[in-house]
Amino acid sequence: MNVPVTTAVEPRRETSGERPLVRVTELWKAFPVARSLRDVLRQPFHRHPVPAVVDVSLEVYAGEFVGLLGPNGAGKTTLLKVLATLIAPDRGSVIVAGHDVVRDAASVRRVIAPVLANERSLYWRLSAQENLELFAVLLRLPKAEIESRVDDALDVVGLRDTGRKMVGQFSAGMMQRLLVARALLGHPRVLLLDEPTRSLDPTAAHSFRSFLREELATRRQCAVLIATHRTEEAFELCDRVVVMHRGRVAAEGRATTLGESLLGSRYGVWTLEPNHPALADVIAGGRARRLAARSEGDGRWWRVDLEIDGGDDAAPDLLRSLVAAGVPIARFERVVAPLGELIERAIGRSVRR
C-alpha cells in the first residue's frame, strides 16, 4: 500500500478555530472500463472499474493555494470534477463551504467556481462583455448588479479596454483571463483551476500567476485548488502541494520543504573551473553531490549543480571553504528542483513505504 510522504507544514489552522472551505474525507472514485460488444455479451454483469481517486483526504482553507501535482491519469482532474459536482463520488465525503457535493450540489455551485473547461467554452462570436453578461444571468446575479460585476471582473483581469471585442479575436492568454473573469463573477469562495497557464507564454504565465496570487488568495481570500504541471506554479504560487499517483496522495506539504526532504538542498555554483580540485575534494568527501554541470553564457562560465549534505545550514561553510581554496565563484545560489523529479521521487518514496 502507498503511504503518503508528509512534510512539516504549518500547524493545522483548524486548531485556531478556522474551518476549512474544502474538506475531502476518504474519497474514492472508480470508473467503469469501456468494453467491446463481444465482452459485454460474454459477461454482461462483469464489472472491472478502474480506480481514479483512492482514499484521498484533503483540506483547503480560505486564502490558501493548494497545488495538485502528478503525472497524467493521477486523479487530479477527477478530484477537481468531484468538487465541481460534475462527477459523483463512490465513497467518502466532500464538503465545500459547509455543503455536501452530493446531497446539496446546488448550494455548492453557488460558492464554487471551476475553471476546468477550455476556451471553446466561450461564445467566440460574442464580445467578452456579452459572454460575462450571459454567465451573470446563469449565476443568478441580481439584475441591477450585473453591469457593475461584469465591469469589475473585466477590470480585474485587465480586459476592460477590450471588453467589447469579439472573443474569437482574443489571444489564448486573453481567453484564459476571460475564463477566470467568468469564474470571479459570482464572488466564489472556492476556485478550481485546471492547468490555468497551459496556453500562455512564459511572460504572460508569470503575470497571470502574480494576478492569481494577489487577487484570489490575498484580496478575495478564496480557497484555490490548482492542478498543474508547472514548476513555477507549484513553488511560487502554492502554499501547499499534494502529489497524486494512481489516485492516491503520494506526498503532501510545502513544495520547497518537500523538495528539500525528497531531493535535498540544491545549489548552483557559477565558476570558471568546474573541475577545480577543491570542488572535486568536496564531492569526494561526501559534503556534496554533483548533479550536473553545464556551460553558461559565453562558454567560459559553468554552472555546477550540487546537492549539499546538511542542507541550507551547511551551505555557508561549503561556500567559504571553496572560496578559501581558490575556486573562482561568481554566483552561489539555491536552485529549484525540477517538478518532474520531485513528483517522481515522491511517488517512488511513497510506493517503497
Binding site: F31, A52, L116, A117, S121, R182
Partner: protein
C-alpha cells in the same frame, strides 16, 4: 425553471447566428427554394390528388404546405436536444453551464430555444408565403391548431430528450432522431394521406405522434373543423405528448445521473 436564463441563452445563440450574416440571410432565402417548386409541383398534381386528400383538405399545395411546416417543427424537436448536448459536451461549454446554479431544465431549454424559435419563424413564414400564393386558411381555428402544434412538439421533444439521454450516456444518439424523422416523413402523412399507404403500414402510421396531429391540424386550418370533430386525434396527440415527454424527461434524468457516476458528463 429560470426564464431569465432561458432567454439569455436563446439570445446568445441568436446573436451568434446573426453574426454569420451571409448564412443568416441565406437561411431565409432557402425558404423560397423550399416553397416555390412545391407550389408548382402541387398545382400540377392537384387534379390527381384532390380526391385522395379530400378528408384533410381541398388543395394539394395547402396539404403539403402544412405537412412541410409541421415536419420542420418535428425535425427541430427530435434533433435539437441531442445536438445541443453533443456539441456542448465536446466543446466543454456544457460543463461550464452545469457548474452554475441554473437548473438543467433551463440550460436545455436555453440551449435549444433558438432552434425552436427559428423553427417557428420558418413555419410562420411558410404560412405567410402560402397565404400569398392563395392558400385558404381558416384562421378562426388557430387556437385548435396551436394546441395540436404544441402537442406534436411536446411528443417529439420527448423523443428528442431520449436521443439526448443516449448522447449523455453513450456519446451517440444511435441515429434515433434521424430514423424517427425518416419514418415520420414517410408514414406520417406529410406528402400524402396515410390512407394511401399499403394496409400493413396504416396501423403502424397511426402510432406515430405526427399522423393524428397532422390530420387534425389540416382539418382545423384547411377544412375549418371545430375541436369537437377532431377531438379524438387531438386527444391522441396530447396523450402521446404526455407519455413521451415524461419518458424523455425520465430518460434524461437517469442519463445525467449515470454520466455523473461514470464520469462521462464533462468534456472528453
Amino acid at each position: 425553471m429560470s426564464v431569465r436564463a432561458v432567454a439569455a441563452l436563446t439570445h446568445a445563440a441568436w446573436r451568434t447566428a446573426k453574426s454569420y450574416r451571409v448564412s443568416f440571410v441565406l437561411s431565409f432565402a432557402s425558404l423560397a427554394v423550399t416553397i416555390i417548386p412545391v407550389y408548382f409541383v402541387a398545382t400540377a398534381l392537384q387534379p390527381f390528388m384532390a380526391t385522395v386528400i379530400a378528408e384533410e383538405g381541398r388543395e394539394y399545395f395547402a396539404f403539403v404546405l402544412l405537412g412541410t411546416a409541421l415536419l420542420t417543427l418535428v425535425a427541430t424537436s427530435l434533433s435539437s436536444f441531442a445536438a445541443a448536448v453533443s456539441g456542448g459536451l465536446s466543446s466543454g461549454f456544457f460543463e461550464a453551464l452545469l457548474v452554475t446554479p441554473t437548473p438543467l431544465s433551463a440550460i436545455l431549454a436555453g440551449q435549444t430555444g433558438y432552434a425552436f424559435a427559428w423553427g417557428l419563424a420558418r413555419v410562420v413564414l411558410l404560412l405567410i408565403a402560402g397565404a400569398a400564393l392563395g392558400v385558404d386558411v381558416h384562421w378562426d381555428r388557430a387556437p385548435e391548431a396551436v394546441l395540436v402544434v404544441l402537442g406534436v412538439i411536446a411528443a417529439h421533444a420527448g423523443l428528442g430528450l431520449v436521443a439526448a439521454a443516449l448522447v449523455v450516456s453513450f456519446r451517440t444518439n444511435a441515429g434515433v432522431p434521424q430514423g424517427l424523422l425518416i419514418v415520420s416523413t414517410i408514414l406520417g402523412g406529410v406528402y400524402f394521406p396515410t390512407a394511401a399507404l399499403p394496409p400493413a403500414l396504416v396501423g403502424l402510421a397511426e402510432w406515430l405522434p405526427l399522423t393524428p396531429g397532422l390530420r387534425a391540424l389540416r382539418q382545423c386550418l384547411l377544412l375549418g373543423y371545430p375541436l369537437s370533430v377532431v377531438a379524438a386525434d387531438v386527444g391522441r396527440v396530447l396523450a402521446g405528448a404526455a407519455v413521451w415527454f415524461a419518458v424523455g424527461a425520465a430518460a434524461l434524468r437517469w442519463a445525467f445521473g449515470y454520466a455523473r457516476r461514470a464520469g462521462s458528463l464533462s468534456q472528453y
